[in-house]
């Protein structure tokens, strides 16, 4: 039940884009087309699930036993940066097309606050290893759901008559706000499910 709670919570209630404000830069940057958004989503799901597991080991096997929790930020960001480099090499070797499509955003997963954010949330919420991994996976899926929905909306802008001054970022923020408020609808469902 706890796992279902974390899974649905990460996907719908504490959605990284609509509720927690994590990973907004790539959300705005790579959502121009559904295909690129899907590619980025896969990279983020992979990295965030891995990062949740790896940072858990570093937190509970290294930082806590030696009493150096204040090094958390430095250790986590280095672990994530290494992990991202690894994913980048794998994508470059296996799919140059995808690598080209993601452009500068793949190295920038390092500075994607969603990855470090989920690692820190795991520590704050005091999750065990499996809960951390489930949370990382669910949060990444929530992020992906948001970016895929948004890319779909964004493709429609091409044929829509948007006021000139709102084109680009302003309309992106306003649409995201509307999506965010519609996601509040899930909270009622959630409360009745876990009463």
């Amino acid at each position: 039940m706890t796992y279902l709670y974390i899974l649905l919570g990460g996907l719908l209630i504490n959605n990284f884009i609509f509720q927690r404000f994590l990973g907004i830069c790539p959300f705005l940057g790579v959502s121009k087309r559904v295909e690129t958004a899907a590619g980025m989503s896969m990279a983020v799901i992979f990295v965030m699930t891995m990062a949740s597991a790896v940072t858990w080991f570093f937190q509970h096997m290294l930082l806590v036993p030696f009493g150096v929790e204040y090094l958390q930020t430095i250790v986590f960001i280095l672990v994530i940066a290494t992990l991202v480099q690894f994913v980048e090499m794998v994508v470059l070797k296996t799919s140059p097309v995808l690598y080209q499509a993601l452009g500068i955003y793949l190295p920038l997963i390092t500075t994607n606050c969603a990855v470090l954010g989920v690692a820190l949330i795991n520590v704050v919420e005091n999750y065990n290893l499996i809960e951390s991994v489930v949370n990382g996976f669910a949060s990444a899926c929530g992020w992906s759901l948001a970016i895929l929905l948004f890319a779909g909306i964004r493709e429609r802008w091409e044929i829509t008559d948007i006021p000139d001054v709102l084109k680009g970022f302003p309309i992106a923020f306003i649409s995201t706000g509307l999506m965010s408020i519609s996601f509040y609808g899930f909270q009622g469902l959630f409360q009745s499910l876990f009463k």
Partner: protein, 208 residues
């Protein structure tokens, strides 16, 4: 001298990181629920940005190109750790509110962008001024967004627990403005107004 002044002032309006370049959106949206939160977040970012710019400019010739990104990350993370510990000790209430967004300064795109685009190519003094200017630009943006959201969302303004308008401004507060959707709308509408104000009669530069 002129160059130094320009390095300082460009971050405040002309190249404002939030409204002009649209960087560092996560902390901007998350911590702008009130003017005071924006102020403290801005202060933390000014500190990290200035000192990381100084240190990166100082070591820019010693760091090989290939490992510059990990090196910058370690430098930035060290200053973020300092801010984290200091704020935890001296402003615990604000530390509680800003939560994970203090350690998350380390992945703030603004700081990384300035390190990569400016501090790694310019002398120490210019980089320090660039950091302070950009930081002030970030803080002012947060305060503007926080002002709109706090006034509309609570019908009041508060500073360290004291409300500035007594019982409030006399209208029903729109709670949604201090919730996440309000952040997106405020940001979108402010960006739109900014475009309207700076619109040239000719064709505008296409964005995004």
């Amino acid at each position: 001298m002129n160059g130094l002044i320009k390095d300082f002032t460009k971050g405040i309006i002309a190249e404002n990181p939030v409204f002009r370049i649209v960087l560092g959106m996560c902390p901007t949206l998350a911590t702008s629920t009130a003017v005071e939160n924006g102020f403290w977040m801005g202060l933390a970012v000014i500190f990290v940005l200035t000192f990381s710019n100084i240190l990166i400019a100082a070591v820019r010739k010693a760091v090989p190109d290939k490992i510059r990104i990990p090196a910058y990350i370690v430098i930035i993370a060290s200053f973020v750790t300092i801010v984290d510990l200091v704020m935890h000790a001296f402003v615990p209430a604000m530390y509680e509110i800003l939560g994970i967004f203090i350690p998350l300064i380390v992945v703030n795109c603004i700081i990384f962008a300035r390190a990569e685009a400016f501090a790694s190519k310019n002398p120490i003094l210019n980089s320090a001024l660039d950091g302070i200017g950009m930081g002030i630009g970030f803080m002012l943006s947060l305060i503007v967004i926080g002002f709109v959201r706090e006034v509309l969302g609570t019908a009041n303004l508060a500073w360290s627990g004291h409300s500035l308008f007594g019982k409030g401004l006399g209208f029903e507060p729109a709670l949604v403005m201090i919730m996440p959707p309000g952040a997106f709308w405020t940001m979108g509408i402010l960006l739109g107004l900014m475009n309207l104000a700076t619109r040239k009669p000719k064709k505008r530069r296409a964005r995004a």
